[in-house]
């Protein structure tokens, strides 16, 4: 009998330990689950669809999709009169991205943003699925660049996201690999790659072709532009476009100005070198006054 009591005590302590070790994921999700349940119950979906949707919401949260986002997606989608199948697509896409270890933030952001902006629900689903596919394509590309020696300093997830967005804007994988190689040769890191690729995407969003945008940022990387320089470049282009210039022409003008600046810098450097050569010892290079 005493032995049984001991076993019970051990069982009790084991339960307490299990409780402590339980993933915090589901703790604190109750409020969101209640809100999801209320929104689904208040919708015009069929009873079976309501049950299915609630189950899928719980599965998504258990799979690691943040409960707050699941609530926002479902309530906003129901507000936009999305059907059960489309809402399920949102949950399936975000759940799959999470399961595959890809950045889930951009996908949730796309769904939440699209629904908020009043984009038709099916288009939102297509856009989020497209982004998920691009994230899948972006990951091996980043891994390849890292394997080939690109410095890993920086956030890998941000790099994957920037690459996925660039792929969405019709930058080819080959062009991105080429750009990554240019970053590596210039001793740039993953952080530089991400930052400059973001700028290229911004330029592309302003109407500059992918080829010209990549060419501009590649030049910027090779010249060791800072983040501030990149911002200035994007701002200059935007200002030119606002003045009425064609994006491609504005980009070309910026490129020409940069080339001129670079030539002028090289000339200045050369003059400095020449001046400093005076007084150098024998065999010190290109001195002329000896």
């Amino acid at each position: 009998m005493i032995q049984n009591t001991n076993k019970l005590m051990i069982g009790y302590f084991a339960c307490i330990l299990l409780l402590l070790a339980m993933p915090v994921r589901m703790l604190g999700a109750e409020n969101h689950l209640v809100a999801i349940s209320s929104a689904v119950d208040a919708s015009t979906l069929l009873a079976t669809q309501k049950i299915e949707l609630k189950a899928k919401a719980v599965a998504a949260i258990q799979g690691g999709v943040p409960a707050e986002d699941v609530e926002i997606v479902i309530t906003r989608a129901l507000h936009r009169k999305a059907d059960a199948a489309t809402i399920s697509r949102y949950l399936a896409t975000s759940g799959a991205v999470k399961k595959e270890g890809l950045p889930i933030g951009p996908v949730l952001d796309r769904i939440e943003q699209g629904l908020s902006k009043g984009v038709p629900p099916t288009q939102v689903a297509q856009a989020s699925e497209r982004l998920a596919d691009k994230l899948r394509s972006a990951r091996p590309l980043i891994d390849q660049l890292l394997r080939e020696g690109l410095s890993g300093k920086g956030d890998r997830e941000e790099a994957i996201t920037a690459t996925a967005r660039a792929l969405e804007q019709s930058f080819s994988e080959e062009a991105l690999i080429g750009f990554g190689t240019a970053v590596r040769r210039s001793k740039g890191s993953l952080q530089v790659f991400t930052r400059t690729l973001d700028t290229a995407s911004s330029l592309s969003a302003n109407g500059v072709s992918g080829k010209t945008a990549l060419s501009l940022v590649t030049t910027a990387v090779e010249r060791g532009y800072t983040a501030r320089d990149l911002d200035t470049m994007a701002r200059r282009l935007d200002a030119e476009v606002k003045k009425g210039a064609r994006p491609e022409d504005a980009a070309a003008a910026i490129g020409r100005e940069d080339m001129r600046d670079a030539r002028s810098m090289r000339r200045d450097d050369m003059r400095r070198d020449i001046k400093s050569d005076h007084g150098r010892g024998a065999g010190s290079g290109m001195g002329r006054g000896r």
């Binding site: 009998m1 952001d109 908020s116 984009v119 939102v124 497209r130 592309s204 994007a234």
Partner: protein, 213 residues
């Protein structure tokens, strides 16, 4: 002979039927060895009935059981016994207090964990930077800002008007954000004064905001 012995046992156990008894009587008439045999058995029974009966000590049965060879229990049977055998819980005040103490400590640990998370969030909140967004729209009735920092909630961050300029102060952690203004609860306008823009994935653009410490 064996059959007659079986009948004798039945008779002693008071389980014999008339037919058995008649059969035994016939056998005894014809078989002297059987007669001898039953005489011996009945004598033994009579002697046993007449002998004094002694009570077995209480530990006798347990002692006998202990001396029997033990069968090795299988894992399955052990598990079955552990899960399904009925138990009687004996408790005392000391163990009850110990259980109560462990429960309190466990709840305290969970509560502490929640509070630690809150502390971390507060720490992050302390690192937030105040950012002012402005938008010139004298004709607008309402302007709000929505972006990834507020999960694109259209009513979370309404802007205030002063001389035709709408403005809002946001506390944001360092990072890169995308946002747009919502004019008169319907039109989405990327900030015309933004440093740069990003494609929103739906054929339009969002303004980009970089927050640095």
């Amino acid at each position: 002979m064996n059959r007659e012995r079986d009948i004798i046992h039945k008779i002693l156990d008071k389980e014999a039927e008339e037919q058995d008894k008649r059969s035994l009587a016939r056998a005894l008439e014809t078989d002297p060895a059987a007669r001898q045999d039953i005489l011996g058995i009945t004598t033994a029974v009579r002697l046993l009935e007449q002998s004094e009966r002694l009570e077995a000590p209480p530990s006798f049965a347990a002692g006998v059981m202990n001396k029997l060879p033990q069968a090795r229990p299988t894992v399955l049977s052990l598990l079955r016994n552990f899960l399904f055998s009925s138990r009687v819980l004996r408790w005392n005040m000391a163990s009850a207090l110990a259980i109560a103490l462990v429960s309190i400590l466990a709840l305290g640990a969970v509560s502490l964990r929640t509070r630690t998370d809150a502390t971390i969030h507060t720490g992050q909140a302390e690192a937030k930077v105040l950012v002012r967004l402005t938008f010139y729209a004298p004709q607008a009735r309402t302007v709000a800002v929505a972006g990834d920092f507020n999960k694109w909630k259209t009513t979370a961050d309404a802007m205030r008007r002063s001389n035709g300029i709408w403005s809002i102060d946001l506390k944001l952690q360092p990072g890169v954000y995308t946002y747009s203004f919502i004019v008169d609860e319907g039109s989405w306008v990327p900030d015309p004064g933004a440093e740069s823009y990003k494609d929103d994935g739906f054929g339009s653009r969002n303004a980009v905001l970089r927050v640095n410490i």
